[in-house]
């Protein structure tokens, strides 16, 4: 015998392990113990097998490997003594995994022990079988277990009943053998056996419809009667649970009745009385009574319809909600959640109590109650519920605010009856918990504000007030900054006052103050600052008196550490300083944000890129429809008109504005757009590439700025590579033209016309000295434009075009401006026009020369879009068109 194997008793080992200070020490002790146990195992030491197994179980519980003890369990089970068998079966349940080959070895021992004369050994075997039974074992041992269901000792009967549950779960085919013995168990008097018997019936019903029918037909009445006896039974101390007689038995019965009653009107009818009795008579003071009530409610909700009982059941749940015990409130909320599907109206009646639970001190109850409230909201109760929730927001825990705001916002968004109410509630939420609000929420708010033109003034004033008191709420500040930037003048002038409003006096510099504070507050993040910068730029144009101050604020960020802000401030500064003339148009108010596009993007149903939406808009007439790509461009108010800048030296900066990787913008619009798409958008706005060759539509500028008068809408166009414009001071140069060219990038394919291509393919050879026929490039009611062409020798790519304008009408055209745009592969150089007034009735003409260089000469034909603006009797007229029919070879 190994002298060390007897070393320590179980108790000593536990003590040694407990004395360990560190995990490493513990591992060392366990390692040593395991080594001695292994040695004992290999020597087949029988004397200490019992103790070694007990030690192994302890070691197993601590999480160390004990697989080497598995065979010891089997040997122990096979031995004759009760203690050995007991520890063996215990080890079997704890140490063995489900590897079939090891378990197969046990089957025989189990069979013997199930037939043992000692009922305790039978009990041990049943217990082990109930825990580890596999399908094979179930088949082999089912007859033994079935026989034991009639064993004289109740302890064995109840274990056999539960063991049968395991067997029928493993092998449902065996269920029919157990139906009648199980039914017999329902007549038991012994509570323990009755509980297990009812449980066996319940599980039989779950695995076999045959059993379900059997019990439904034969046993429902009997069950109801037994339950009635149990309910009315006199006090029995053995099964007493805080004054209630055997709540577990009640619960098992109610559960079986539920399964029998589900989907069967007769059975449901049969149990109505007893359910009503349980629901009304059970004492709700203690947990045990409530457990029964809870089960009873669930049964009532599941069986066939009985509206009276259901109201009773939901009222019980309502009572639970005001119970002082957290657990009861918790389960009640869970059950109400299920009950909504059955009878929402009855649940609605307990709204007030549920609302109280939202304010519970227990976080898990609050969360459930909030979810429940969310399910209860509808159009009719949204206002009072929202008010309650918002009121609670003020006092709620910090960590709960995020959940709460998310739910409030989604309720308000889903059910708001009118926009003003929506805006009001959102402002309340933002001022209360703006820091907990998700980005989508305030994005959505801005979209809604933008779509409510009659509320612009009201909203901006409300925001101004809110920001004075709750300036620390980031998302409130962002919305306020955006609105002040957009609707600043409404704030100052009290435009669009609603009856309910009190007028406020806000000076222009007050409005700028808000932005300056938002800009400088140390907690503001880059998005807020970027938004403030843009808003400042907008105000600089709207409040000329503050322009200088705005400029100073913007300039402060010139040396900022954040690249985005620095770049933006330099750009904006240069707009303010050098481009006074285009600034008003640049910072024009944003067009209405498209709610559908926005919500589509949010829902993810639309691809987040602009390219698809741009594509679709190309089909729209003139491409004038709502710019679908609005979010990107609109944020800067860079509508198409503003884009082609006249300046030569700064010709690129506007493109920067378009193509910028504006960090805050993607987050604003909820999409991330690649810079080139900005160009697409502009093309789209310019409606280049759309078939109609002649357009007399002033609507392009108008869509983006409904309030603009025609004067300003024309103004930007005048600068479109125009020389004769009185506003334009720069002399046109190739550099000046390049922005336009760039803007037309990517468009060329759509310009090439099939017939031109055909002609082109025939064309060959040197075209120097060739004479091209003059064409009537454009003709409207009164205006005619002729193009004549010539080529400078030795340069086939270049064409010199002389445009001759003739006025057929009886009025003189003044302020005559001709503008042209060409695809990117073409360079355009405009010379000054001969005059800016066009005599009436064809008495003379204006000529203008320009030079185009087709860099893809011979591959792509020339194409051009033109715009002609002039005044007739002081009235602005704008004509535009597209020219594709250039002679081949240009």
């Amino acid at each position: 015998m190994n002298p060390f194997s007897s070393g320590t008793r179980l108790r000593d080992m536990i003590r040694a392990i407990r004395a360990c200070k560190t995990a490493a020490e513990e591992r060392a002790v366990v390692r040593k113990e395991c080594a001695t146990i292994r040695a004992a195992v290999s020597e087949n030491d029988q004397d200490y097998r019992h103790r070694n197994l007990a030690k192994l179980m302890f070691i197993h519980m601590l999480g160390y490997p004990t697989h080497f003890g598995q065979m010891e369990c089997l040997k122990s089970i096979a031995s004759a003594g009760f203690p050995e068998k007991r520890i063996g079966y215990l080890g079997l349940m704890l140490l063995l995994d489900e590897r079939q080959e090891v378990l197969m070895l046990v089957t025989n021992s189990l069979k013997q022990d199930l037939n043992h004369t000692n009922q305790y050994i039978v009990g041990l075997a049943l217990c082990a079988l109930g825990n580890i039974c596999s399908a094979e074992m179930a088949r082999d041992l089912a007859p033994e277990v079935e026989r034991l269901l009639q064993f004289r000792d109740p302890n064995i009967r109840k274990k056999a009943a539960l063991c049968s549950i395991r067997i029928i779960k493993k092998v449902p085919d065996l269920a029919e053998n157990f139906i009648s013995p199980a039914a017999a168990l329902l007549k038991e008097k012994h509570h323990g056996v009755l509980i297990t018997g009812v449980q066996l019936c319940t599980d039989l019903c779950k695995v076999s419809t045959e059993a379900l029918d059997y019990f439904r037909k034969r046993c429902t009445e009997g069950l109801v009667k037994v339950l009635k006896d149990v309910v009315n039974s006199p006090y029995s101390p053995e099964y007493d649970m805080s004054g209630i007689t055997d709540p577990f038995l009640h619960i098992r019965f109610l559960r079986l009745l539920r399964i029998l009653g589900q989907g069967d009107a007769d059975a449901s009818d049969c149990m109505n009385d007893i359910l009503a009795q349980v629901a009304t008579k059970t004492e709700p003071n203690k947990n045990a009574g409530n457990a029964i009530l809870y089960e009873c409610v669930e049964t009532i909700m599941s069986i066939e319809d009985n509206s009276g009982l259901r109201v009773l059941a939901i009222n019980i749940l309502g009572r639970f909600l005001s119970n002082r015990d957290n657990n009861i409130r918790y389960v009640a909320l869970n059950m109400l959640m299920k009950a909504i599907a059955v009878d929402a109206q009855a649940v609605q009646r307990h709204r007030a109590t549920i609302l109280e639970c939202v304010k519970d001190s227990d976080a898990s109850i609050r969360k459930r109650a909030l979810e429940l409230i969310f399910l209860l909201v509808n159009e009719s109760n949204v206002k009072p519920l929202t008010k309650e929730l918002i009121d609670y927001l003020e006092v709620s825990d910090q960590e709960f605010k995020e959940d709460l705001t998310a739910k409030i916002c989604s309720i308000v968004e889903k059910f708001s009856p009118e926009k003003q109410w929506y805006i009001d509630q959102m402002l309340k939420v933002l001022s209360e918990a703006g820091n907990f609000v998700k980005d989508e929420v305030w994005h959505a708010l801005i979209v809604v504000i933008s779509n409510a033109p009659d509320l612009h003034g009201y909203t901006v004033r409300a925001l101004y007030r809110a920001v004075q008191t709750s300036g620390e709420q980031e998302s409130l500040v962002r919305v306020a900054v955006w609105c002040i930037g957009e609707y600043g003048e409404m704030l100052v002038n009290n435009v669009g006052m609603l009856n309910i409003e009190e007028p406020i006096t806000v000076t222009e510099s007050d409005a700028v103050d808000v932005l300056e504070i938002a800009m400088k507050r140390h907690t503001s993040d880059i998005t807020t600052r970027a938004m403030s910068l843009i808003a400042l730029l907008k105000l600089s144009s709207r409040f000329p008196s503050c322009s200088q101050r705005v400029k100073e604020i913007i300039v402060q960020h010139k040396g900022g550490l954040v690249l985005e802000l620095q770049q933006r401030s330099i750009e904006f500064n240069s707009i303010i300083e050098r481009h006074q003339n285009i600034r008003p148009a640049l910072v024009e108010r944003m067009p209405v944000l498209d709610e559908a596009t926005y919500s589509g993007k949010r829902a993810g149903s639309l691809p987040p890129t602009v390219s698809t939406s741009t594509g679709s808009s190309l089909n729209l007439p003139n491409g004038v429809a709502k710019p679908p790509a609005a979010p990107l461009v609109d944020l800067l108010d860079l509508t198409s008109d503003d884009a082609p800048a006249p300046s030569s030296s700064d010709g690129d900066f506007l493109q920067d504005l378009l193509g910028v990787d504006l960090a805050p913008i993607p987050s604003l619009s909820g999409t991330s757009q690649a810079p080139p798409s900005g160009t697409d958008v502009l093309l789209d706005l310019l409606s280049i590439g759309t078939p109609p060759p002649v357009q007399t539509n002033p609507s392009t500028p108008i869509i983006s700025s409904p309030s603009q008068n025609s004067q300003t809408s024309v103004a930007p166009l005048e600068r479109l590579s125009s020389l004769s414009s009185p506003l334009s001071t720069q002399v046109s140069s190739p550099a000046g033209a390049s922005p336009i060219v760039d803007l037309l990038d990517g468009l060329s394919p759509s310009l090439s016309m099939p017939d031109n291509k055909a002609q082109e393919s025939n064309f060959s050879g040197d075209n120097n000295g060739l004479v091209y026929p003059s064409i009537v490039a454009f003709q409207s009611g009164s205006l005619k434009m002729m193009f004549s062409f010539s080529k400078p020798p030795g340069n086939p790519q270049t064409t010199i075009i002389q445009a001759t304008f003739t006025n057929m009408s009886s009025n003189v055209y003044t302020d005559f401006i001709f503008q042209a745009a060409v695809p990117k592969f073409v360079q355009l150089h405009l010379d000054p026009a001969s005059s800016n007034s066009l005599p009436a009735s064809g008495n003379g003409s204006v000529t203008q020369k320009f030079r185009v260089t087709n860099s893809q000469h011979g591959q792509k034909p020339l194409a051009m879009r033109i715009r002609i603006a002039y005044k007739v009797n002081g009235q602005d007229v704008l004509e535009q068109g597209q020219i594709n029919k250039f002679p081949a070879g240009l």
């Binding site: 160390y64 003594g81 995994d97 217990c127 649970m241």
Partner: protein, 166 residues
């Protein structure tokens, strides 16, 4: 069905662990650790129920009670009544109390064997077997008596013989 019964102390050391659906040893430790993680971070005055889906898989709930230095944790699925499970913990603890005369953590540590015997008389293969602590104690006492009887017969002479063999 009850999925698991775990008794652990407030430091997270398992004192009794019984899983009624098979779990490998490593997984058992992991589960015990995550249960402890949840319980130790719970506030005082909150409900005793925890959604255990993230730990034990879908449709599982966990109910626990905190006595002195011990957590008693029952894990079960939707076929059990939550409030009844709470009462069952009560039955379990009352029974332990009667068996050990004012049960404390040390009793649990050194008698984990007996703990299993008691538990096996209350919960059988994940089903409730007996809810009367008197009945449980009766059964446990019978078993202890049997063990002792055979122990005195078998173990003493054996160890004596082992001693002589040396």
């Amino acid at each position: 069905m009850i999925r698991a019964v775990i008794v652990m102390n407030t430091q997270g050391k398992p004192r009794l662990a019984k899983f009624y659906d098979f779990q490998p040893a490593e997984k058992q430790q992991e589960l015990i650790r995550s249960v402890f993680g949840v319980l130790s971070s719970r506030a005082e005055n909150v409900s005793d129920f925890v959604e255990a889906d993230s730990i034990f898989g879908p449709d599982t709930r966990l109910v626990y009670k905190h006595f002195a230095t011990l957590y008693f944790v029952f894990v079960f699925d939707s076929s059990e009544n939550e409030l009844a499970m709470l009462d069952l913990i009560q039955v379990f603890v009352e029974t332990l109390d009667k068996c050990f005369k004012n049960v404390c953590e040390l009793d649990v540590v050194f008698n984990f064997n007996k703990m299993h015997t008691i538990l096996d008389e209350i919960i059988f293969g994940g089903q409730v077997l007996e809810t009367s602590s008197t009945e449980v104690i009766k059964a446990v006492e019978e078993i202890t008596k049997l063990e002792r009887a055979s122990n005195t017969i078998s173990l003493v002479p054996k160890s004596v013989s082992g001693w002589q063999a040396r």
